[in-house]
Symmetry: C2
Subunit: 338 residues, 2 copies
DNA sequence: CTGAAAGCGCTTACAG
DNA sequence: CTGAAAGCGCTTACAG
């Protein structure tokens, strides 16, 4: 039987159990020792009456809602569903709810949501983009609002917990891999460069190539935006390059897939013309053709871990920053040209 | 400036404005006439103090949270992000929040979420799958919980509002199209047949073919499950058929894409060997190769409309069922064999 | 360990 | 139209 809108209150339970409401509250919240006998009586009364505490009354005192907000740019970007799923699975396993907020990475929207969520007395906030600016987070933090940052490191915010993949290393792996395949001319379509994840992937890629003495003029960087549409557009820019590169590293899969579509339309065969590496390993990257070689992040796990840390913080424990390892996933979008 | 956890209460506002708390409440909630002078005083006090009503105290009386629950099987299934985005955009535009619930289409999970959401005093529920069974919805409805069903018609629930695409017609369009292309042997990989959307797409497809005198033995039906993995598995079954079909209609794009992957692995060239039609027109269907011909639903719009109807109901208006038209989107996965 | 009572911050009959 | 007061259903000092 599904719960009806319950009308039984803590007073009913107290009466049935022959104790005071205070005692009922204490056993339910484990907020003080109660003798085993009374505990038992209370519990069975709760059961019989199918009592569920009223969240409003509860919250009025405790200020807790058992919900967290997840702020993302767009759930329609294939990176986020996996992340959201990881988050939701974890929070729901501990009795919390997930409120989804799409901001399209716009400052105003992000601000609006943060206010809305705060006004609704959300228990914690998970940021993936951070358009509001680090100052806002700082003030949130100093107001005691639990926050975690997902997918990149905070630049200069003391004590902000984050969960990321080692983006610099991921960039290195991509560079290393393409170099070993014998490529000489590279393009990197980066993420937005106001974003540390984007900058680190770029830096890693370049450093790896430099280590092998690839000259600067053979490494072009095009600033991208992490969207499919952006990737599609970048493909056109790439095709204008002279000489053409033979290897392209996209800072995420979404852009790589957008570009792949463009190349397909132009009848440019991949990997014959260009070898392509993405980043993220989103689900679709194995479904496009050719299946995309990519640097994988464990997106689902990032979601879970972020949720775990956030809830730790909410419940008064100390969270800890987490850095996961990127991994090369070889599929069909690259070829060896040695 | 982002709101701090506000400590100003309705009493502070009342004092500043020189009125009673009741008056403040009345102007804020527009729940009774208040003279223009007092209204003005209250409003400016509210502004100066940056007052935001406490949702707990408010809810304790009104029982409203301004949040709704969206129950889906899996946000990772590419149909749902677009839907969720439509829902979220609408609800956030009217000050509500969206709570995301992934059930993997399992009864227990669905039940658990419904209870959880009810206990949290969610204002309304949006169902996409309906594993809990129609009885549960019936009792929800009779308890006065606002609900809407998305993506299919309720079978025998009086007064349940729904938003759907005309699935039967969609099936017809697919059948008609493949027949006109000259195909003679068809396979339909259906949705789950305990689901009316699945059954209707199937029925439309078959009826269209029968209308053209296609014989029953030339139409095979394989029951699917609307997942990519399911589509992938169905491809193997199809390849065992003798004689092979020349046309396949998948009841959704996710399954078609799963099958496409399998065919790619087996080096079976599409559309040379099979002509394939999907259903939904999810975003990725234009990115796979070949780009998928499909019967489109306006997923984002379905989300928006569902949200609109749900909120109507929550706010005491009457919702209305909505049926949208399916449309054929021709891409590259079919060929004419006449 | 337990209970009586105050109080969280609103809303809403009830009077006027 | 406006205010004083009760009450929504809990939690938590305060006593004992």
């Amino acid at each position: 039987m599904i719960a009806k809108k319950s009308k039984v209150s803590i007073i009913d339970v107290a009466q049935k159990a022959g104790v005071s409401p205070a005692t009922v509250s204490r056993v339910l919240n484990k907020t003080a020792r109660v003798s085993p006998e009374l505990t038992k009586k209370v519990l069975s009364a709760v059961n019989e009456l199918n009592y569920v505490p009223d969240p409003f009354a509860h919250g009025l005192k405790t200020k807790r809602t058992k919900s967290i907000g997840l702020i993302i740019s767009d759930i329609t970007n294939p990176f986020f569903p996996e992340l959201a799923r990881g988050v939701e699975d974890y929070v729901s396993s501990v009795g919390y709810s997930l409120i989804l907020c799409n901001t399209d990475a716009k400052v105003e929207n992000e601000k609006r949501y943060v206010e809305l969520l705060l006004n609704k007395r959300i228990d914690g906030l998970m940021f993936t983009s951070l358009r509001v600016g680090e100052d806002v987070i700082k003030s949130l933090l100093s107001d005691g609002v639990p926050c975690v940052l997902v997918g990149r490191k905070p630049e200069n915010i003391e004590g902000l917990i984050y969960v990321v993949t080692d983006n610099y290393k991921g960039g290195c792996i991509a560079g290393e891999y393409l170099f070993k395949l014998g490529h000489k001319r590279f393009v990197h379509v980066s993420g937005p460069l106001d974003n540390s994840a984007g900058r680190e992937r770029l830096a890693g890629f370049i450093d790896a190539l430099k280590k092998h003495k690839v000259k600067g003029k053979n490494i072009k960087v095009i600033e991208g935006d992490f969207t499919m549409e952006g990737g599609y557009r970048s493909a056109r820019e790439i095709l204008r390059l002279n000489p053409l590169p033979t290897a392209i590293f996209f800072a995420n899969d979404a852009m790589a897939i957008g570009a792949l579509q463009r190349f397909w339309e132009e009848k440019i065969s991949i990997p014959d013309v260009f070898s392509i590496v993405g980043f993220d390993n989103i689900k679709v990257s194995s479904l496009v053709s050719p299946p995309l070689t990519t640097i994988s992040q464990e997106i689902y796990k990032i979601g879970q871990l972020s949720a775990r840390e956030l809830i730790k913080i909410i419940e008064g424990e100390k969270g800890e920053p987490i850095v996961l390892e990127p991994k090369l996933i070889e599929r069909r979008s690259c070829r060896c040209i040695k």
